[in-house]
Amino acid sequence: MKAPAFAYVKPRSLAETFDLLERHGEGARLLAGGQSLMAALNLRLDAPRILIDLNGLDELSGIRVDRDSITIGALTRHRIVERSTDVSRYLPLIHQAMPYVAHAAIRNRGTFGGSIAFADAAAELPACCVALDARFVIRGRNGERQVAARGFFKGWYETDLRPGEVLVSGEFARLGDDYRYSFQELARRHGDYATVGVAACARMAGDVLDDVRIAFCGMGATPRLAIAAAKALEGRAKPHLDVSTAQALLEQDLAPFDDLYQTAATKMHLARVLLGRALARIAVPHED
């Protein structure tokens, strides 16, 4: 199908963007990469009066490495993140997840911030941000605020973003070289949204695992942090890693729904399988 009629505008600054948002309110949508929004418009799932194209705002694009943190601008395209040596060096979890984010032609347009703000529960990047405890920088007419990724995702396609605000970037703490990472995903077709995906990382202090963080996509209305499972692994030495207990505890952490293709029970099974794979990768390092 074709998109319904709307007007289009491409502001030259964030200040102009805030003006437009204020003037057009609920009838306006922000257009970043458009790889979800355009599909929704073509399917007539949404009918905004105005699209505000953010693609003229170069200040929202790019990857910056600081002493303690790394920042990904909201308008940075997936393909740039995928190919960034800064991301592969400082954010290996995101580097591992990128090939799973849709298909090459979509990664060339789709943006980091678009994926976060759209907040599909089966998308890879929101789960990575939750696992890495990222902070999102949000700007509005009255200034800037930061929100932890873990509090940002509120429900199906629902986030903490308020009317008039724009997601500017995601900030990640630089973790030590002793952290290990694994991103695993099952999808019906490579590049589709995940049936189930897991983003996991932990510090390996000698043989002991600590600061274990595990987040799932596709296992509820938002990315889900597997707190009970992570706690069962915390402080355990590698030879005594009780993977099956952690897998069993996922029952407490996750809340999958039946969909057209899989029952919730199947998804729970797949989540346990993926957690096992991720922990095997973390405990025994591989060259990826």
Partner: protein, 166 residues
């Protein structure tokens, strides 16, 4: 471009090496612009929501879904469609390999397949069969069962591997 919202906008872009200037409706996507305004009907529309890959074109050298961007967003860009890419270069080689390996039947998916595959041959001629499958996972073909398409792309990849190794 002015910064007041508008339903109709003037755009200027480069399509297959020629300068194009048109007034377009804001809601028109790039694939419809290419097909209806410019008569470039080699860009196909299958699903129109980014799943099938039949509308794949190049925008400033990178492959994109023409159904998932607006014509107005191509203002100032360089667009290449199958009409401009055919017969020469890597796409030409792929076309011959598709013919020889029987990698097409109805031909609906073929322009998108060729343009997507060309990117892989250029960037990663050493790709394994599994990597070729992964790269083409965003393009649907309902006739061939993919095997012959992977064969054809692999043939051209091999050719380029040899060239670069030599």
């Amino acid at each position: 471009m002015k910064t007041e919202p508008d339903d109709m906008l003037e755009i200027a872009l480069d399509v297959n090496g020629g300068r194009v200037r048109r007034r377009v409706s804001a809601r028109q996507h790039l694939a419809d612009f290419l097909r209806h305004e410019l008569g470039l009907t080699g860009t196909h529309l299958g699903c129109e929501h980014g799943v099938c890959g039949a509308c794949t074109v190049r925008l400033d050298g990178e492959i994109v879904r023409a159904c998932l961007m607006l014509a107005v967003q191509a203002d100032g860009a360089r667009v290449e469609t199958i009409e401009g890419l055919s017969d020469t270069g890597i796409v030409g080689e792929l076309q011959r390999a598709f013919h020889e390996r029987n990698a097409l039947q109805c031909g609906f998916c073929t322009p998108g397949m060729l343009i997507a595959a060309a990117e892989l041959v250029e960037r990663q001629p050493g790709a394994s069969r599994a990597a070729i499958r992964r790269h083409l996972s965003g393009n649907y073909c309902r006739c061939t069962g993919y095997q012959a398409i992977i064969d054809a792309v692999e043939t051209v990849c091999r050719l380029h591997r040899g060239v670069r190794a030599g």
